[in-house]
Amino acid sequence: MQTRPRRTPRWPVALLAAAALTLPTAPAHAAAAPEPGSTVDVAGVDVPVHGTFSLRAAGNASRDLVRGAVHGVRRVEGGTAVYLSLGLPASASRSLPLSSIFTRSRDYESSALAAVTLVDRPGMTAYVPLRGGDAAPYSSDVSEFRALKPGELVVLWAVFPELPAGTRTVDVLVGDARAAVTGVPVEDGALEPVADDLVPQAGEGWPKIAEGDALAGAEAPWSVRPLVQHRGSVDEVTDVAETAEEVDATLAADVLFDKSSATLTAASQDAIARLAADIAARGTGEVRVVGHTDSDGSDSSNQTLSEQRAAAVVAALQPASGTAVTFVAEGRGESEPVAPNTSPENMQLNRRVTVSYQVQEATR
């Protein structure tokens, strides 16, 4: 089913026009961009604007400012179409190659628009454009359009995998710079009317996208990527990296233990209690606890210390972690550093205990 964009009354425009015509001294500034979530009539075409963005080509602040808008994330047959526009201000001194904003990727056809990403934070999933088109990419064909000209706002598109039925909004990351427009609603049907031009300007109609049979060659699973949520405790004891399925917590050994000791300190109790509560609430299966050391001392003493520390953490976690999980303790000694042991700061990072566990899907 196709949903037409929301339209809004036009009487305020007439009021504005009348006001402007009676005010000849008004400075010649462009009007403000439409508010996110609005739909405006551009030369007879309904143009939704879900948010705007800015970026610098090649990350270079000496280049002209590129601005643009996201116009739609639309469910179409076989995929999800994203419409966005971008361009240079009329004051820009020269055109800008599209390749300086969207670098070509070896993973895609050379003419594909690859550097666009959809992020579903609640769903803990990211999506990249579909690939696999034999005859043409599943996106604007950038070989047909090489440069942005000052003052023109051109519309580009790319098709992504089908989003889950429950996904209502996504974030759109644009270009190599990953400029973000957040909270874009996922709506139904391709935008209309379709323009004759493959790369129209905003307001000239919408580019014809690939959908249905035209997406038959797409490798949809390849375009679906796990998202990782990161947070660290304010007391700087615990760092957590979490996907939809698994939690990886890293505990700072310098807080958990005194130097060269495998006896937990009083200062470790809050971190242990918080982790055990999370495991009890949503953990499932096996909880793997692994001790690591820095490179100080002999291999064998570090191996022993890491095993003892892992066992101490298991002993503290287990009583408060419920009955849905089992524990495994391991020591890796100094064999798996996360940073070169070349500075006190790095060595501190390497002294750690990691706790990994699966989470039940219903608890997310």
Partner: protein, 198 residues
Amino acid sequence: MSRTTVVAALAAGVLLVAGCSSDEPAPAPSSSGGAATADAGQDHDYTVEGFASSVLGDGTLDDLEDVGSASGEIEGGQVEAQIVSVVADAAGTELVVVLRGDDTGSPSRWSESRGVFTDVRGVEVVDEAAGWRLQPYTILDVSGESDLGCACSEFPYRLGEDGTVVQALLPPLTEGTTSVTVALPGLEPVPGVAVTWR
């Protein structure tokens, strides 16, 4: 805000601008921008050119908010950070910052502070109520093994006085949080940054 409200506000803006000679940007229509006036007789909100002008602006970032700032010397050069917004909803938190610095003609600073990554994943928003420092999401490859990048901006290759917007998508804040501390690598943390909920 609905478009009706926006356009009404725009009209009010025209009336205000008429009474002053400020050079500050104002939401007034123009013959060149043409946003709401040039084609109004044909009952359209914008012409193609006028709409483009309204989105593309004047090529500056002067219109962005400033809800906090930090500055300091990083790796031998001066860097200024203007915090534009911290926007929160149930889905997560968005941090928007403008980075400025002297254009030395060489790659931007923070090469040490940012570690091995080329993005701004080192930023943090501190949720005191929850006891967590929120950090940007990252994206794995299809196998779930390798880091493919960040749900945050690439670090600007070169800084400049005109500024570059960088953004980061972070986990949700505790509901009702009204202000946070924003931590930017190499600069002093910025406390008391107002949160906008949507």
